[in-house]
Symmetry: C2
Subunit: 206 residues, 2 copies
């Protein structure tokens, strides 16, 4: 199909498709002439993936490029999947062989006490430290006991994330990389609805 | 204190404080003259709250104004708290007496089957429908079984959210309104860390 048909099929304007081509998140089509190229079903799938990561995951073009690089890596072993996936959307190296002690910040101290297998260099630890500090600054008494309960609930979420990943390593990376931001967008409204259910249930209305 | 001192104490520039005054999210100080006003500790607390909602919660000025209106409502009964809080950050009416049948979209059908007490007009249902559709479009096989497991985990989160709310109704609204976006920002990195822990645990590294 021509680029105009690719635009029609995906609902993404031609100008945006050309931007994706320039940014390298969409592979060039098969050249038919100096000005025309042929696109196929793989391009349609790729454009849909880029849109999902951008619109729902809220990822920047640079982050999308990293996600796509991970997905295209051949021969990943199962043990590398999570590191590769996390590297993609955390924008930093979270290599499986990274060492060091888990200590030196509230989040690190917490997970060390809880005995979690978390790399000290995982940037999510810094994100958590920042978000936790913001809660405390705002007068939300988010103590360690409450944080451990949230962590336990997220462990259930992670078990579903990983338990539902396909066996093929490349497909599994794609599943986790895609699923992490996309499912974040699912969990936020689920939490609102769970709050309403809990509140209405407790007060006996409806 | 003068507005320059309020800026120094909170770390928020005078121009931004003036913007907050114009937008009505910060109450005017006590007028000392035509050009000078006196600010106090309540103003400091309010500015910190506005910053937390904007920076961590990612709320717009309009949403922040709604949150602050909810917090200042006197004499809220415990049963109104969740509706008022959700109204604030969902930007829509989620009144406790709203009726109607829970049906007509994948999310509504799911919660009807699960027997959740969720108002059919709750805008989080539409958010969930959109996020769920985006997952399916991207080839993430997020079926109802997996969605129910995520919902169960979020029910644990909501129990912590609501269980940790103070008894005083106004303080409880503030707790939920503030805690919802601020704790979203905690749950995202917690999920990443839980994924790493689960993956490393399963593969026996570290």
């Amino acid at each position: 199909m021509k680029i105009s048909e690719l635009a029609e099929t995906t609902g993404v304007p031609v100008a945006t498709l050309k931007f994706y081509l320039r940014e390298g998140v969409l592979a060039p089509g098969r050249a038919l002439s100096r000005t025309q190229a042929e696109y196929d079903h793989d391009h349609v799938e790729r454009v849909r993936l880029v849109r999902a990561l951008a619109d729902v995951g809220g990822l920047s073009i640079a982050s999308i490029r990293r996600v796509l690089e991970v997905i295209s890596e051949p021969g990943l072993g199962p043990a590398d999947i999570m590191g590769a996936a996390q590297r993609a959307f955390l924008g930093a190296d979270v290599t499986p062989d990274e060492g060091g002690e888990l200590a030196g910040s509230p989040a690190r101290d917490l997970f060390a006490r809880m005995g979690w297998h978390v790399r000290p260099g995982n940037p999510a630890l810094d994100d958590l430290d920042r978000a936790w500090a913001a809660c405390l600054e705002s007068g939300l008494g988010l103590d360690e006991d409450r944080m451990e309960k949230y962590a336990a609930a997220m462990l259930d979420v992670a078990a579903v994330d990983i338990g539902s990943a396909p066996a093929d390593p490349t497909a599994a990376v794609r599943h986790v990389v895609l699923g992490t931001p996309l499912v974040d967008a699912v969990l936020v409204p689920l939490r609102r609805l769970a709050q309403q259910h809990t509140a209405l249930d407790a007060h006996g209305s409806q």
